[in-house]
Amino acid sequence: MSTETGSDGVKRRDFLKVLGVTGAAGAMVGCSSERVEKLIPYLVNPDHTVAGVSNYYATTCRECAAACGVIAEVRDGRAIKLEGNPEHPLSRGALCAKGQSALQGLYNPDRYRGPMVRENGVLVATTWDKALELLGQKLGEVRSAGTAGRAAFVNQAESGSFPALLDQWLAAHGMPQHVAYDADANLGTLEANRQAYGTPWPALDFGAARLIVSIGADFLDDWGAVVPNQLAWAEARGKLEDAPRFVYIGARRSLTGLNADEWIAARPGSELAIARALQGAGVTIAEAAEAAGVPAAQLQALATELNATRPSLVVAGTRGPDATDVALAAAAINQAAGNVGVTVKPAEAVASYDRVASYSDIRALSTRMAAGEVPIVFVRGANPVFTTPPALGFAAAMEKVPFKVSFSSFPDETAELCDLILPDSHALESWGDAQPLRGTLALQQPSMEPVFNTRPTADVLFSVARANQATAGGFPQPSYRDWLIARNGGPRAFAELLASGVASGTVLEGTAPARAAAVESPAAAQQGDGDFHLFVYPSPLLGTGAGGNKPWLQELADPVTKISWQSWVEIHPNAATRLGIRNGDHLTVTTPAGRITAPAFVYLGIQPDTVAVALGRGHTAYGRYAKGIGVNPLSLLGSVEDARSGALALSGSRASVTRTGDHSQVVTTEGSARQHGRGIAQAITASELRTIPVPVQRVTSADATPAEGVLPPGEGDGHDIPGMPNTAFLPGLRSPVAADAQGEYAYPNSAATGMYDPEHWSGMAKRRWAMTVDLARCTGCSACVVACYAENNIPTVGAPWQGRATSPGVWDETPGANIIKGREMTWLRLERYFEGGEDGSSDFETRFVPMLCQHCGNAPCEPVCPVYATYHSPDGLNVQVYNRCVGTRYCSNNCPYKVRYFNWFGYGEPDRRQYAFPEPLNWQLNPDVTVRGKGVMEKCTFCVQRVREAEHRARAEGRDVRPDEFTTACAQGCPSRAITFGDAADASWSVAQLAVDRRAYHVFEELNTFTAVVYLKKVNHPSPATPAQA
């Protein structure tokens, strides 16, 4: 700064001039929203399609064997949301978390793009023509060598015509029937049901029972068809004070166990003794209690209650080496108590499990392959390499097969070993049918064109068969679709059938092949002698691993432990104290078969002598979201079978547990498992509930004011004095602030209430959108959470590449790194609280609370926003305006419910490392909802896009929105029917009635937030023998 003229010739003033002009140019460019964007029209407009408006196709969910009905919402040629089909007799409009996330299988970025063939040891892309030619050639070779009879086809267990058709195709090529493999199936129960009731899966009527006893049958997790189970269960619990009491017997409180009123914490392996004791067949209560490690009095009380209560329902679904015997004992109790035909209905059988093969079939196949007997093996929709214990050696056995064909759509562990990949189209891209109940036909139709160059396996079978003179005769139609049309009465009848998706009818029936004999488990030798019983169980979300490649399911916190993106070892608090183990300490679990290392999770709901590990993680392939996440506890298991059913025994061995000395934070979405007296999740006992009279409805259509049921502010709402807590304010939820945010209370001298006045010309304040959540029905299954992810474009944030930079260029690649920091984005989360059991006793209660933005009438977040990015809309929504938000996070800090979520990274921006929707996952994004960018706060909107859509539709049709015309995504999918959404200011909506229920309460009512979410207290049914605990 010496002179005006710098020695180097550039004057300061010149520099400023240049800077100024550059700035102006920057302003011109920067402020212009002129970006060349194209409008691409159709070449030929498709029929029945309006650009920008959704079409809905009724089809069938194929994520598990149950075959629920779904309706696929398709916008501009892309499926964007799955919802339950209300006309489907099995699922009745509900859909579980797995079903919701079928879309992420469809749009999985790691799907095979097209057929692949192994050349020089590497899988390379090929064409369908070449791939099918190769397949035809290999089939010919096998046939001419005379070894076709030793070929094997492993197909997923599914209902419908396809299995029988597949058998026809195999027979035409001289090959034996296929193996219908379902790693998740509860084979012990299936076998016992066949023997006791004559059908693999009788319908269960939970509502008809007065007492339900489950011996390890996790009917809300994975035991049978979960959605119909849950519908029936919620209906039963919806009877409130008349609902059945539920006792759970098992080594671990699963999600089902947590829903029980009482838990008998039996050691693994003692279930049979308990069942026999309850049955009164050769085992005394004292002996059973001794074996189980539970007080004899507790067991005696249950036996007495079971004898005294009619009708009851006893279900069993253990996974030990005696699973069938346990289930048979349970069936015997049902038969003796006269429950068959009352609570167990063999006549209304679920048909999905008719021909499920057993683990012993896979073991037999593995043995044959290892011996080099199998010339060619096909695998479709199953992943036996991952879902069988390494002790079986399936992968090594497969290497001995000269030619291996996979129809997998994903690069899973089994497909990676194959020589030819003929990727199957996703269920949402292909035709099919299913038989959910006997006598019911459900159709599966493609909702969109295939995302990749895949082909439905059925069509591949048709083309292969028709390419050869010898086999063409059995396949007269050119494709599976034509075959289905011919079978279902021609094109016209078929089109009518497609409209609803379900009808009475039948599918092509096949005969199940003879099952391989199970081997007697070598027992003691393989069981080991560790200090702990080992309890391995399928994850309710990931199953035995099939869900692992879907980020929604990886991110969704486990309903029981609230852990995501990792495996964990569950250990009882008392055992943990004894061994000095804290949450997150790395434990090595060792059995004779192998060892795994995972962080500890100290869990009250596990039997003290037991450690539990969930299946589903630990993939070594299967795409970016699955590979390298967690561990697979199958490596701890020997190939031990239940001798009667041929099921793999998941429990029954012993393990030793040692600390490695490492520690890492558990990837959990939970802050505390205790309520600390906050009254977030409230409950009432059935006997207390009986003393509360059902109130007279205060708002009825009869005394409605001219404004259609809307009470004028200050009248009848109990809120004449603002700031005073008042429990009588439920009707209409018209909090003083919602009714008056800019009116008299805000400006004491003003008479104008602005647009918040119900009489305001805009009509904006006519409604008060609200929600009720019935905790007596809610099971904590978390289907609502996934529905919310799907509907609202919520990013997943836990993948290893989504972490932060710890220093420039160095990234935190811990799976779930963001979640450890509390940065998950679940607009709707399921909180799980324990009551009691502080001393480690099994006598504790669990309460689940779906926690979402409460849309407070007097919202703490609103006044602290410096830029008015969050405000209260006149119709009762707490609105977050993304384009106003500057990311101060004051709102989140001031929110007592902690339901606001901040975009710490550019999860919605494709050029960011943390982008959550890699192509084509972004095809699923809902066009009605803004994808949020970095630095923006977001939260539950009460599905405002659905509100607006309904309002627009009503307006176009010249009417008002009809009561209960639409609902939010979470309420739509809920398999418990616990969530109700609607207009609380209009008495003709269901929610207005439920909001004044005698069980209604608001969370943190004392904060005067006047929430629009009303919870209905859980109803507990304590044991008649013990004092009430609520």
Binding site: V36, L39, P41, N45, R948
Partner: protein, 217 residues
């Protein structure tokens, strides 16, 4: 820093700021047009000026509701008239042939998206009519090649704005209210500013709800 220089710097900076604002505003008003419309009738006029430059400018001058200062057009490309792959004459179709807007933009009354006509909609007439004209031959080539026409988007609201066309059309808002007299436009340009103030004014005047969550969600 000497006193003299300080006094020189402050008005200098102020001048730069004012210039930037004016330039920005002017460019906003002229954006899009500037590249294609010759600025002055010089001998070395910009090449490839459209044949209806004068008509285009006149139409824009008379129809644009606002100058550079209304609703801060600085931030929108109001008045932009991009060159389209086919020089589609709206006046010929709407004025001379009396075609309804909804004939081609057929979903404007039933979808958030007004809809662009499928190529075979054009071909419904132009297989025969005007088959020899150069612009029609472009159309026919697109159709023969099974390629959709890559129209350049003129009107766009940001991604965080939900604008349902059907709600407006069904409320008897004329297309021209927002899009201008497209029937008189030789080439379509952005008629309105599409700024939020412009939206809200209309909502208030027409007594419809105007809180944020009406459009932002």
């Amino acid at each position: 820093m000497t006193r003299r220089r300080k006094w020189a710097a402050i008005p200098g900076l102020a001048l730069i700021a004012v210039t930037a604002t004016v330039l920005s505003a002017y460019s906003g008003a002229q954006a899009g047009g500037a590249g294609q419309v010759a600025p002055a009738p010089q001998a070395t006029a910009a090449p490839a000026a459209p044949r209806d430059t004068v008509a285009l400018r006149q139409a824009r001058d008379t129809m644009a509701a606002s100058g550079p200062w209304a609703y801060s057009a600085a931030s929108t490309p109001q008045g932009r008239a991009p060159q389209q792959p086919i020089d589609f004459p709206h006046p010929q179709h709407v004025q001379s042939l009396q075609m309804n807007c909804l004939y081609c933009h057929s979903t404007a009354n039933k979808s958030p998206d007004p809809g662009m006509p499928a190529v075979n909609t054009c071909m419904g007439c132009h297989t025969i009519i005007g088959a020899g004209l150069p612009e029609i031959q472009k159309l026919q080539k697109y159709y023969a090649d099974s390629t959709p026409i890559p129209w350049v988007r003129v009107h766009k609201v940001p991604d965080y704005v939900q604008f349902p066309h059907m709600a407006h059309v069904n409320a008897d808002v004329q297309c021209q209210t927002c899009h201008g007299d497209v029937q008189k436009m030789p080439r379509v340009f952005q008629y309105s500013s599409l700024n939020m103030g412009w939206c809200v004014n209309c909502h208030v005047e027409n007594k419809v709800r105007y809180d944020c969550s009406t459009c932002h969600y």
